[in-house]
Symmetry: C2
Subunit: 754 residues, 2 copies
């Protein structure tokens, strides 16, 4: 191909002149930069110099037809701009002249212009028609395939729901006024209800599909719209509706469930009190049965005994109130009673007082309030009586004679909410990660002073290390909580106590993980992450409280640990000799592991990447913490310390056990899942994510492992290096990995992610 | 003393009846509880039973005069209610009858009432005239004395300023609308200016006192009012005014400084650009000098080159603009130029465009905006020319010939802001801790099912462990940053490079610490911590960005590490043989320490509490990280890896060194300070806080220490136990410790803290 328009001397300057004029980049002083370069170009013929200098006259700039010629010339050359080169424009120029049949020469003067003007590809890449080669990420993997693996059995329902979310009513915007925000969220809830999404988990006869896992998927996807909507949705259909469904009987279902699912009846879940949050068993609200009138009187006795933080409190007409049920002067423990709190005109019922909780750190689209009851009477039938009822002749009756067991059975039915909260938290982490990664694939900062182009944030090792393990963890936790929801919904499993223990621990570590991740993403996006428009700020405020509601994390971890201890005790006591043997055997194998120097400092890749190693490490930690905890408690009790005090003394040990157990469980669940991925390519990817999760978690607790002598210093260092290596290996796939979360594109409204 | 009103049988029931009726605690069913108890009281004479039962008739309650008699009886008895007893009311009753001359008998039936009604001291303690003995905290130490120690040389100024903050204009309230919020903050800034607080750091001739440390104390105390005010104050007087003061010369001072201090001239500090935050040297805004007109043209070349997040952008009439100064076609590097951006009518100047940054996660009382300049001309004199000027004949001149050195000298003058940011962050942590501690000293949750009273949150070991080390750290960092500010303001120290390195690292670890602490406090307060009214939520959103502004923490830690490496290199290269010897010697002593098994597992209290151990541990870490880092970089460079790439490869190592160095520095500074506290009682307390800080920090990095073999597993466990022990030992003094921060009582507006 021969260029018939410009001589060689002029031709080589065309690309840089094109950039300069097309974007009007040139200020007065910058003209000087170009003129200096031209003057110093000794090989440039004088006639070319004259032409080029004329093109630098700001008062008489090159004509539009001239510019068009340049554009045409560049585009017909088929030369590609390579963004990642050190001097992309100089290099382009060099290739351009070759394309037009000249010899390849690097013109130092063009390079000087490029350096001194400091123009970077992101300033001008939009000007070029030619394809720009810049490999920010690999497309070896396919995000749709990954998403399909994550959606598992519910692809159809989830896809249809995500599509539905493109309805303009779900468009995210900045809401500062709580009243307006609440109205918006309420209208969104009603639309979801109309489409049948609210009733999803209820039986068919009440407008639902009986499908709790799909309900949970809807819950988690709603985070991408707005977390206030998620929580409001959860309160109305999951907590209030769930209490009617799970604690009530047929008469309650017939009367309330359909209307609840359609959001015709708005309800709230009045459990927490100002004075009693975590300690539900100690709530002070009383529900006293009066035989004469056959009614139950709901009453708030003291100044701290009002219901508190009750979501939906300002919109609801009914409350599911948890109170001490007193029948014939005897306290039968905590029960839930349906109490109308407003009439059809939305006026408060007699004896009911409600106050707005006001502005919160987040979730200001949810109307949280305080509720007081002053001797409010409701019919006996309003007792949600699946587990405890008052007979027609005015006596209390329950199939479960042990009050403690009865209480925990009632609460146990509400564990689904805890699983949903963890799932929602994961969505918060996913959305933040997607935004932070997409930003880091565009944002450049610093360079080595040789390259024109600055480096992408995503190419900094510290940036990879702060985001990649969190992406891996999101995958692990997603799969884990899907599995938990499956078990929870499985009606063939009648004894759900184990699932409760597990859900408690997992909810705690996952909501903590989500908050840490969102914070990391906020900082990773710098000042941009601080702007509300970029979504991470809101997620931070919203997801924060997930560590507290549906069970405070500190309390839940202790609950989980106590569950593990109880299992341990049962194993020890009931199974007798063989169990003790097994226990002793386990102790020995622990010791073996700790004294085998080969194992302690085994640092080859095969070993460090082997799930057997990870599982052993996690299992060893759980067992060891359980055993030492049990021994410590036994010793205290032997010394005459009361059991309650003994447990207080080992509180931090309990927390450590709760975490260790939950991490082991998550990893086990994830590896079981990945082993069953049929397609090898994706299986290997998922397994790599699992490996990163495992090594990262071991690394986080390396102090403990070293303390125990389970690993040596060399191995600890090797693990740290492997974590860094894995992050780098996953770098080309990082965009696909966040796209694999399946967040609907229309929900990623953050300007920095686009 | 004999009671002449009631017989023994009735008398013993008086306290519980008094509580029941005075607070109207009795519901119908609860009446039954009391009647049952009376019926079962076999020792109670029939006539007493009749009287007592009459007093339970809700339709005919005891008369007011009866109630007065009860009150009088209780109050004259001088019996004290002991909240911490298992059954406080039963016990009170027992002591009451003794006071009136009867025999001491524990009445099981009264105990039954107390148990079944579940009334707790916090329900009724306000009813008693008698003093209530409840030792929540000790008053062995005096918070005023502690505060005086912290205020050091500036007690008078700080006290007077804190008192001034009681002016109603500084009353905190919830602000949701940014426009109103900004107006409020602006008016607060003007009042501070009128009182001379803004100009504090300026020379006397411009309305100041030349006292930068006092300015910094004002800055940090303003956090207690509102962090938006702090930041706005800092932008106006510290950043804008500071740039005039430190980068300008007499003509600028004379023209602008007095008006700036009085807030008559509002200004902003336009450094950061959308495309260039941390990399200030790469800003794209140009300032081109034109000899003909003797003016400088300010211009924003590309779409990402606008100034971004500029505080005070919407209120200002002038900007201190950082731009590439081009004189005679040569780029002389980044300089600051004063650019009028609005006229007296507050209309934008020609060529200036400003956009609001909109809502942010926090600091919504600060008007952050974006600024574009389109060929804006200003006189040559507007160049802040202390370090680089344009002569009358139109040439560039600077005393500092090296452009790099010149750039860092200019930026170095602004390090004061970085110190202030760290100080403000500490205040945020302090306020959160004060609120969380005061809440935890009132809030009760759970008990051992024997006691009536639930346990205080503050008595849970996990709660002590989550708050106490943070309190200790606040003390350490307060003292450290006060010292840094002293050094920074010391004009006898001309070479401030070391202080810059130190301030960079400390700013990073302290702002991270503050954010973690505020988050911990939020969670420690449960749902209450989530309500805006309780202040922690706002602090969380506000202080968050302190990790990013005035230098991103990740970048600052690397800056600090590079400073340390430079020192290391100088030491190694310049000092020659003796230095190398010293280095080798240090290496040997490191090795000695690591192989001496006695040291590795020395766990006695005297050793673990000895500052020598802590200093050695911190110093060992810094030295070891420096040495291995230097070796790694040298190896890369030997292999031909370019220096920039080599530094990228060791980025996480750099971060670790930056942190290690800063922690060592903080501890050193703190121990030097505590050693000089004259009063022994308080010195011991401060030393204990230092010990807790040190052990907690070693514990946090125990993985590294174990990995290096610096400590053994036994010692690591012992350190963990000592941290827990120290928290428990400080438990009785925890309220005094947060009061010692000296936060004005009128600023602690959180309802949960009162």
């Amino acid at each position: 191909m021969k260029n018939t328009i410009y001589p060689f001397g002029t031709l080589q300057y065309i690309p840089i002149f094109y950039v300069i004029w097309s974007d009007d980049l040139l200020s007065v002083s910058e003209t000087n930069v170009v003129i200096n370069a031209l003057n110093q170009d000794e090989l440039l013929p004088e006639e070319d110099k004259i032409v080029l200098k004329e093109w630098l006259d700001r008062k008489n700039p090159p004509s539009d037809s001239e510019l068009k010629k340049w554009k045409q010339l560049i585009s017909s050359s088929k030369v590609k701009l390579i963004e990642s080169e050190t001097y992309p424009l100089t290099s382009f120029s060099k290739k351009l002249v070759v394309a037009y049949g000249y010899e390849s020469i690097l013109n130092e003067n063009i390079k000087q212009i490029e350096i001194n003007l400091g123009i970077q590809p992101n300033h001008y890449n939009h000007l070029f028609d030619v394809e720009i080669v810049h490999k920010k990420t690999s497309n070896y993997y396919n995000s749709l395939e990954i998403d399909t693996i994550l959606k598992a059995d519910h692809s159809k329902e989830i896809d249809s729901f995500r599509k539905f979310l493109s309805d303009p009513i779900f468009q995210w915007d900045i809401q500062r006024d709580k009243e307006k925000f609440r109205e918006k969220v309420l209208s969104q809830v009603k639309i979801l209800a109309n489409k049948g999404y609210g009733a999803m988990a209820y039986p068919k006869e009440y407008g639902g599909t009986g499908n709790m896992p799909v309900y949970a998927s809807i819950f988690e996807n709603l985070i991408y719209v707005d977390a206030s909507l998620t929580v409001k949705f959860g309160v109305q259909f999951g907590l209030f509706g769930g209490s009617v469904q799970k604690l009530g009987t047929k008469q309650h279902h017939d009367t309330y469930l359909s209307d609840t699912g359609k959001a015709k009846l708005l309800g709230c879940f009045a459990m927490t009190e100002t004075g009693h949050g975590s300690n539900v068993r100690g709530v002070k609200t009383t529900a006293t049965y009066d035989k004469k009138t056959d009614t139950i009187t709901i009453h708030t006795p003291g100044k701290n005994d009002n219901k508190e933080y009750i979501g939906n409190a300002l919109h609801s007409t009914m409350a599911s109130v948890f109170a001490q049920l007193i029948v014939n002067g005897k306290n039968e423990g905590v029960h839930a009673i349906l109490v109308p709190i407003r009439n059809e005109k939305h006026q408060l019922m007699k004896g009911v007082s409600i106050e707005d909780n006001g502005y919160k750190l987040g979730l200001n689209g949810v109307d949280n309030g305080k509720i007081w009851f002053n001797q409010v009477k409701v019919p006996r039938e309003n007792l949600l009586n699946k587990y405890g009822s008052i007979t027609k002749d005015g006596n209390y009756y329950s199939d479960i004679k042990n009050p403690s067991k009865r209480f925990f059975t009632m609460l146990g039915t509400l564990v689904g909410g805890r699983i949903c909260v963890a799932k929602g938290a994961i969505s918060g982490a996913k959305l933040s990660l997607a935004i932070a990664v997409k930003h880091a694939l565009q944002r450049r900062q610093f360079n080595d002073n040789i390259k024109i182009q600055e480096d992408l944030l995503m190419d900094y090792p510290s940036h990879q290390l702060r985001l990649t393990p969190e992406i891996a963890s999101s995958y692990v936790y997603h799969v884990t909580m899907d599995h938990m929801m499956k078990l929870y919904s499985d009606e063939t499993i009648t004894d759900k106590r184990k699932i409760e223990t597990q859900a408690a621990g997992l909810k705690a570590i996952i909501t903590d993980f989500a908050n840490d991740t969102i914070q990391e993403c906020r900082e990773a996006c710098g000042g941009k992450g601080y702007l509300i428009e970029n979504r991470i700020a809101d997620l931070k405020g919203d997801v924060d409280i997930f560590t507290t509601f549906e069970g405070d994390n500190t309390v839940l971890l202790q609950l989980a640990a106590k569950g593990i201890l109880a299992d341990f005790k049962t194993e020890f006591n009931s199974a007798g000799f063989s169990s003790v043997l097994r226990l002793v055997g386990a102790q020995i194998s622990d010791k073996l592991a700790t004294i085998n120097p080969l194992y302690i400092n085994k640092v080859d890749k095969d070993h460090l990447y082997n799930p057997k190693f990870h599982k052993h490490a996690f299992n060893y930690r759980t067992r060891r913490l359980t055993y030492t905890l049990a021994m410590r408690i036994r010793d205290y009790i032997k010394k005459g310390v009361p059991s309650y005090q003994a447990f207080l003394k080992v509180q931090t040990h309990l927390l450590a056990l709760g975490k260790a157990y939950s991490i082991e469980l998550a990893y086990e669940t994830f590896t079981n899942f990945t082993d069953n991925i049929s397609d090898e390519k994706n299986r290997l990817l998922f397994q790599k994510l699992g490996t990163l999760y495992a090594l990262h978690e071991i690394r986080k607790d390396t102090g403990w492992y070293l303390e125990q002598g389970y690993i040596g210093g060399t191995k600890s260092k090797a693990i740290r290096q492997r974590v860094e290596r894995l992050c780098t290996e996953l770098r080309p796939h990082i965009e696909v990995l966040v796209d694999g979360f399946g967040i609907p594109e229309h929900c990623i409204t953050a300007p920095i992610a686009n």
